[in-house]
């Protein structure tokens, strides 16, 4: 876990959007934040540690893990470059992280003290406020995604979950032929259903001429039927 002083190319990170590299260097110095290397399997923090930091994945990937009652760990989520993790707990003042964060592979991480981040410097660097705005925007977007997922998962049948998800994607793409970012396994995870059961439903929908698909490309054929499905 040796320290590496390196501050290049941070401008591409959402947290630093709209802030030039020089300003970032000033901020990082002000935060006393540096990149650190974590070997695969080592912990960035443990559940129960005081929640002071937001982490940025510079390189590699980390798993957000929860210690089960029965002692074994469950992976809640995986975070890749260039996203951040832990921000909600640090900001919400829950005092302790309820989850651990573990390097899934050798990874480079920056930890930033949330208190320093959220409190504008007395010297009044204007870009500091930009970073705060970016952070808030990131959290707000996560919020919207979580809400979407809940709305999707709470549909009653696999058919409804699937159709809701596809329609949502199509609305965003403004196209009735879409390419989704998941394979079947990942899609079934997202919808929280069994993969083979999902497969069964997909085949049925195709057989009924409601939609066609190939790999991760989907196209809706019969919108009347889709409306019928969504309406319960």
């Amino acid at each position: 876990m040796k320290k590496i002083l390196k501050t290049n190319a941070y401008t591409k990170y959402p947290l630093f959007k709209g802030v030039n590299q020089n300003s970032i260097n000033v901020i990082m110095n002000c935060f006393k934040s540096v990149e650190k290397e974590y070997k695969k399997g080592t912990y960035i923090w443990h559940a129960g540690d005081e929640a002071h930091y937001v982490g940025i994945v510079i390189n590699g990937q980390v798993n957000i893990v929860k210690d089960d009652i029965s002692g074994d760990r469950v992976i809640i989520n995986t975070v890749f470059n260039p996203m951040i993790f832990g921000e909600s707990y640090a900001i919400a003042k829950t005092s302790e992280y309820p989850v651990s964060v573990q390097a899934a592979v050798d990874s480079r991480i920056i930890l930033i003290d949330i208190e320093k981040l959220m409190t504008p410097c007395s010297v009044g660097c204007s870009f500091h406020n930009e970073v705060i705005k970016n952070l808030v925007e990131i959290i707000a977007k996560k919020n919207i995604k979580l809400n979407n997922r809940i709305e999707c998962i709470t549909k009653k049948t696999i058919k409804q979950k699937l159709v809701f998800y596809l329609m949502d994607e199509m609305k965003m793409n403004e196209n009735n032929e879409i390419k989704i970012p998941y394979n079947r396994n990942e899609l079934s995870d997202y919808l929280n259903v069994n993969r083979s059961a999902l497969s069964r439903v997909l085949s049925k929908l195709e057989e009924d001429g409601i939609l066609i698909f190939n790999k991760n490309k989907f196209k809706i054929l019969d919108y009347d039927e889709i409306k019928e499905i969504m309406a319960n």
Copy 2:
């Protein structure tokens, strides 16, 4: 929808936590925000409107509603005093609200322009930063709640969802006898299961001596069995 100039007692709102009434008055003036009265059934905004505002429920309650594909509206959520609504969409720069907000009963609402809220005044009022911090904290807490709910809902069986929820509540109360804030109907909604099916599972758990309950009070008797259930 007549305007009412009234700025008392805002200190109790989470958004203004730690800010004194005088400062709030200054801010509200700076924001040009005032309370407005909305009659039951009228809309605070419609889906498709540009997302500029965060709303505070001063009085009454509002429904967050979504226009279904089939034309009818679904209530996504209900917001009471003193909570806020719309903040995620306004902050995330989605440009348009994807949901409408409708007064469920006669209600008093404050709408605050998010851009003004997020940009510290040039005069540099220190309390403005407090408000921003509060807003971020509110969103972060919502985030954590949403994550908890997802973790709960994605459990496979009703039994697991229920046990997960109860254990979570107990951890917070540090007591194995808890009082939950839901009646059966609301609990089944939260867990996203059928009420009678939930009732069935509850009775079975009681019959097996794993927990006892009365109204909204629950107590776990057999922790070994609980562990067994959580472990799958």
